[in-house]
């Protein structure tokens, strides 16, 4: 079986269908800011520390979002701006230097320190990139200090990871050889990263790097021979920065579900000049296993109506997966941001007529959700319990960012995330 053929066939046949226009809304947005990305990024890069320069609100958000994890010694903190800092910009940089000094004395194991901008620091135009440069100079060669913004005014939830990875791009060494190299971009669970590495090797792709790497001090190389494979849909700025260094993006859907994973890996194989039959053979056992594992969830979920509130930009690939592989019916698929080209392959796979929405006016969207009366609502934690209390089954969306969901072996786990709330309701009712 070669999955590329049906996908391309479908894409062309769908192209003629009349697409409903994307609903673009502005109003109250019930979403996280980019600072939240720190919650998983600090675990992925074990030698990195994230220092938010912001207000008490930023500190409060981080510890609320970090939930139970707060019992471990975290690799993030907040430098809280106070009145004295606001009175005049003169001594803010000195204050910041002292905070960093205290921090590095407490955590001598840190190799990369991110100064993370927030809404307050952006509004008062605190120049954190200059501060990062100065501090890098001061603490070299032990610690490299970088800077990005995770502010709510500029970034929505997973865009914080995008901004962070984009800050790493200038630090990546240049490639030296003239052979094509694959670079997989986007945080993946360690187990998923290892699976992809094994599959790519089996397909015949051995020259392969991952960004972010497990240690921020050891970054993969990039250059004109780099072929870029995005593992996550929210990496617009990072992809642009890598393209500016010569890398070329491989157009592909995202590795969610059996179909997505197959197409994603085969796109890499084609771009890297690997024999498609060899590649497909290498994938066959995992693909068959995953297809079988999905069957039980599919039987339960087929025909169920699902509504997506905007959260992470994962909504479009997830909607494609639940519609095509689980047989669910899409009512509305909301996303905080729809990237025109990075979602091309995904949008071609969506059922014709799927209602997409970009941005949010949460009260109006709730009205539409109630009118659509879906069987399952994918939404944030601020909406989940209130909707449950109204009688809707919900799947809280940040779990989709904190759980290994990519790849063949996780396809059934991903399906189970949608299946579980419905099963639970059935059990509790019985």
């Amino acid at each position: 079986m070669n999955a590329r053929i049906p996908i391309h066939a479908l894409a062309t046949s769908d192209a003629g269908c009349a697409e409903p226009p994307v609903l673009r809304e502005r109003g109250q947005r019930e979403v996280f800011c980019g600072l939240t990305g720190i919650v998983w990024l600090h675990r992925k890069m074990q030698d990195a520390f994230f220092l938010v320069v912001g207000s008490r609100t930023c500190a409060h958000l981080l510890q609320s979002a970090a939930g139970v994890m707060i019992f471990a010694e975290p690799r993030f903190a907040t430098a809280i701006i106070d009145e004295r800092d606001l009175a005049g910009l003169a001594d803010v940089h000195e204050e910041l230097d002292q905070v960093v000094q205290r921090l590095l004395a407490r955590r001598p194991d840190i190799r990369v320190l991110f100064l993370v901008g927030s809404c307050p620091s952006e509004v008062i135009k605190l120049d954190l990139s200059r501060a990062a440069e100065r501090l890098s100079h001061l603490h070299a060669p032990q610690v490299r200090v970088l800077n990005y913004s995770g502010s709510g005014i500029e970034t929505t939830f997973t865009e914080g990871e995008d901004a962070c990875l984009a800050a790493l791009v200038p630090q990546m060494p240049a490639t030296t050889g003239s052979e094509a190299e694959l670079l997989v971009v986007g945080s993946l669970a360690d187990v998923v990263e290892d699976q992809f590495r094994r599959l790519l090797t089996a397909m015949g792709i051995t020259r392969c790097g991952f960004l972010p790497s497990r240690r921020a001090a050891d970054l993969p190389a990039v250059g004109p021979h780099t072929r870029l494979l995005l593992a996550q849909p929210f990496l617009a700025t990072t992809a642009k920065a890598l393209e500016d260094r010569g890398a070329r993006r491989i157009p592909a859907p995202y590795p969610l579900g059996v179909e997505g994973t197959q197409a994603w890996l085969m796109a890499a194989a084609e771009a890297m000049g690997v024999d498609p039959i060899r590649a497909d053979t290498a994938l066959a056992p995992a693909r068959q296993r995953a297809t079988q594992a999905l069957a039980a969830s599919r039987a339960r979920l087929a025909g169920k109506r699902i509504f997506f509130f905007p959260d992470s930009q994962l909504e479009v690939p997830l909607a494609r997966f639940v519609a095509r592989e689980l047989g669910m019916v899409l009512t509305e698929v909301g996303s905080p941001y729809l990237h025109a080209t990075h979602l091309d392959e995904e949008r071609a796979l969506l059922p014709p007529g799927t209602q997409l929405s970009e941005g949010q006016d949460v009260e109006r969207q709730l009205d539409r959700c109630r009118a659509a009366a879906p069987d399952l609502v994918v939404c944030g934690l601020g909406l989940a319990n209130p909707l449950e209390a109204e009688g809707y089954a919900t799947k809280w969306s940040i779990e989709l960012v904190f759980t290994p969901i990519q790849g063949f072996e996780q396809a059934a786990d991903l399906a189970a995330l949608f299946d579980r709330p419905l099963q639970r309701r059935a059990r509790l009712a019985a």
Partner: protein, 545 residues
Amino acid sequence: MQLTLWTYEGPPHVGAMRVATGMRSLHYVLHAPQGDTYADLLFTMIERRGERPPVTYTTFQARDLGGDTAERFKQSVAEAHERFRPQAMIVGASCTAELIQDDPGGLAQALDLPIPVIPLELPAYQRKENWGAAETFYQLVRRLAVRPTGPRAALDGSRRARCNLLGPTALGFRHRDDVQEITRLLDRLGVDVALVAPMGATPADLARLAEADFNVMLYPEVAQTAASWMSRQLGLPCTRTVPIGVGATRDFIREVAALAGLDADQALAAAEQDSRGPWYARSVDSNYLTGKRVFIFGDATHAIAAARIASRELGFEVVGLGSYSREFSRELQDAAKALGLSALICDDYLEVEAAIAAATPELVLGTQMERHVAKRLGLPCAVISAPVHVQDFPARTSPQMGFEGANVLFDTWVQPLMMGLEEHLLGMFRGDFEFHEDAAPSHLGRSQPGTVATPVPAAAAAAAVAPLPSDPITLPIAQTTTQTTTQTTPPAATTWTADAERELGKVPFFVRGKARRNTERYALDHGLGAITVETLYDAKAHFSR
């Protein structure tokens, strides 16, 4: 700029949100950037509310900053009024909106809505969550409470006295059950509760505040500003004792009896039926609790109450008392002085951690943050105050106040300690493969990973919990053990001989930290060059005088 690993309080607008969410038919329009809606999940997840907080956020983004954020705010206010039709509204700014200075109060007034719209000035870079809650409640009461027209009907025995319960909010530590418990207690005394506020009250209810005979202040952090104002302006007297602990509950009952014109002794007799705490603490099983060293930290109300219970009702020795509530530092200093301590008033998590390590307690009573510290230091811990997480919003009834509250506190605080018999046996026999001092108390039902049965991982586990090099846990005295000591400094005396170190290992683990510290201090005071087994016992005798 302040380095903050964990913050004890949120920003002041979260306090305002706690008041608004606790009340009914009050809506809050908050000028805030995208992302500040995270605060909703404090209420929907931690407190598990089945409805969204009554808060509309403007959630402006960078592109809006070039345009008219003020217009956006006005539109949000108008839409929120149209959709939710509240009896009153509060409007304000979050920390970022404070910087762009759109004047939410003025903008909302300009809309001329047919309901009271109350502007909030909450300085986010100076003040914090509890202050925000207190200020919000005060502004609501000031604006909405109606002055009594005539004198109150006399309390001459012909009717029951009526009081207001002030202070409970959404996201308050055990507020739900405290209100229930105190209402029940007051009912037994013959006092009715006229109104609970902010929790459960509507703006229209607040207009009737002055119809009660007096106020009961349950949580000074939230209610004191409003209660003082009502006492001055509406002539409503207010209780001062917070009824946490048996002693404090008795004092509270006497205070209420005086305000309600009741016989205090009769009232006490009527109220004490369910009180089991005092007998439990007196029973011989509790003998081993005597003199247990306890460190207490939390908001001022809960910390002060806990110190009294620990020292006078459970027989512990309080070795540290502190709070992050700067507004109540005088009360806290007084309580600490009575125990021969100096209060630690700070909101720096690292400083609290250092103070706990230095005090070498056997039990920590604190907030969610002290649980991190206690876990790091391997100390038993119980939570007595906000900030707390989801497990401290339990389904079962678990007040802290009144006599049932004292029962709950007895169980909660004793639970993390090793039980008497096990503690004795550990003092007598060592090296048991199953029951040993590095294992968790056996009544807590799990053994530590990598214990004596598997020697190699045990070493690894010990290394894993060992403090970091820069850790404040390192005893201050150990830092003087350098070879470069000059004539002016006292001779360094902290070298432990191998025998002494082994003997120290035989001291029961929960007092070992204190034994080490005392011995080192003794050696230093006596100018001893090395610590031997003899020094250890000399120090023991010296400090037991």
